[in-house]
């Protein structure tokens, strides 16, 4: 694997996490539990999408085969998407949606903070913009975890159930492989060990305040980073790619 291939793959992984999570959050548009949250979630979906666009554009440039952000977002096949399985999980109830975002935010913020020091100028610049947004995202999802956990019996139960269901997907966020080790060595990608330590701190603090218990680390699902997804991914792509597949090259 060349440096260029590693960087391309890495940028795609970062982008696909955000692209798919953005799509999931977008599904709430018009269905939020209250108007204010409806807007908060779609704001956040657009933040993720904006960051994904920058990363996809960069991934296309690094690849050097003339693919732009749209080609990468809409015209790849399922096995070519490199997002973690966490972000493709269904919205479920609001506690489930919030828990999914909380776990992602607790990983994404320290990742972006560490990436500010990347030797790759483009990634450092993307992180510069992302850190501010991610700080707010984590604040929003943490607040809701605490409200649910420390709220009524029912909200507590729902939040705990969501955590238990999603926990198996958190391990994949921190798996190193040939791509990450190469880029960490080059000073381009942050070391995932440090990100994991920050993730643990955030999760422990917030769950303690929320009176929720941290699930035991058991079997951890992996494979998303290699393009092996859960059965939910196909449904997402069917909807997301429909316009470009039905009307190739359509613009508006």
């Amino acid at each position: 694997m060349t440096d260029q291939e590693a960087l391309h793959t890495y940028a795609l992984r970062l982008a696909d996490d955000l692209l798919i999570l953005s799509h999931r959050l977008g599904e709430w548009c018009g269905h939020g539990p209250v108007l204010e949250e409806d807007i908060a979630l779609t704001n956040r979906a657009l933040d993720h999408l904006g960051e994904a666009r920058n990363l996809l554009t960069y991934a296309g440039q690094v690849e050097g085969k003339g693919r732009d952000e749209d080609d990468l977002a809409y015209l790849r096949k399922e096995r070519e998407y490199l997002n973690v399985k966490l972000v493709e999980q269904e919205n479920g109830d609001y506690a489930h949606t919030i828990a999914r975002s909380f776990l992602f935010d607790a990983y994404h913020l320290p990742l972006m903070e560490a990436m500010l020091k990347s030797k790759d100028e483009q990634l450092a610049a993307i992180a510069g913009k992302a850190v501010k947004e991610a700080t707010y995202h984590l604040r929003h999802s943490s607040d809701w975890m605490i409200r649910f956990g420390d709220g009524t019996d029912e909200s507590h139960q729902r939040a705990q159930r969501a955590l238990n269901e999603l926990w198996t997907f958190t391990g994949e966020l921190f798996v190193s492989d040939e791509v990450t080790s190469k880029l960490v060595e080059m000073g381009v990608a942050p070391d995932l060990g440090a990100v994991k330590a920050a993730f643990d701190r955030t999760v422990n603090e917030v769950l303690a305040e929320a009176t929720l218990s941290r699930p035991e680390d058991g079997y951890m699902a992996t494979g998303g980073r290699q393009g092996m997804h859960t059965e939910r991914m196909g449904f997402i792509l069917t909807e997301m790619q429909y316009m470009q597949r039905a009307y190739p090259g359509a613009e508006w």
């Binding site: 539990p33 209250v34 108007l35 204010e36 949250e37 807007i39 908060a40 704001n43 609001y94 707010y136 604040r139 929003h140 607040d143 409200r147 009524t152």
Partner: protein
């Protein structure tokens, strides 16, 4: 959830568009407490760079004059033009008043 949601109090939102300017009333929203009210205000009312400071006040703590008092409150000012600085002529030669 829907029962809880119905219990969320109403908040009035004031946004300052630039440092030094006044906070202007922009609308209202529902939230469980001040922290949530400010976050909701951020998401609902500052998405297009409208502001850099937010105040929220419980709507029940706002008090307003009554429409039926309008005549006695405001009409008496109609014929008191001398309350406007423009009523007075500037003395000749005075540059700064």
């Amino acid at each position: 959830m829907s029962k809880e949601k119905d219990n969320w109090p109403l908040w009035e939102v004031f946004i300052q568009s630039k440092r030094g300017l006044e906070h202007k009333h922009v609308g209202s929203l529902h939230a469980a407490d001040p922290r949530m009210a400010i976050e909701n205000a951020r998401d609902v009312y500052t998405r297009r760079q409208e502001g850099n400071s937010i105040w929220v006040v419980l709507a029940e703590h706002m008090h307003a004059s009554r429409p039926e008092d309008a005549e006695s409150f405001y009409d008496p000012a109609d014929d008191k033009v001398y309350r406007h600085p423009t009523f007075y002529t500037m003395p000749e030669g005075a540059k700064y008043i």
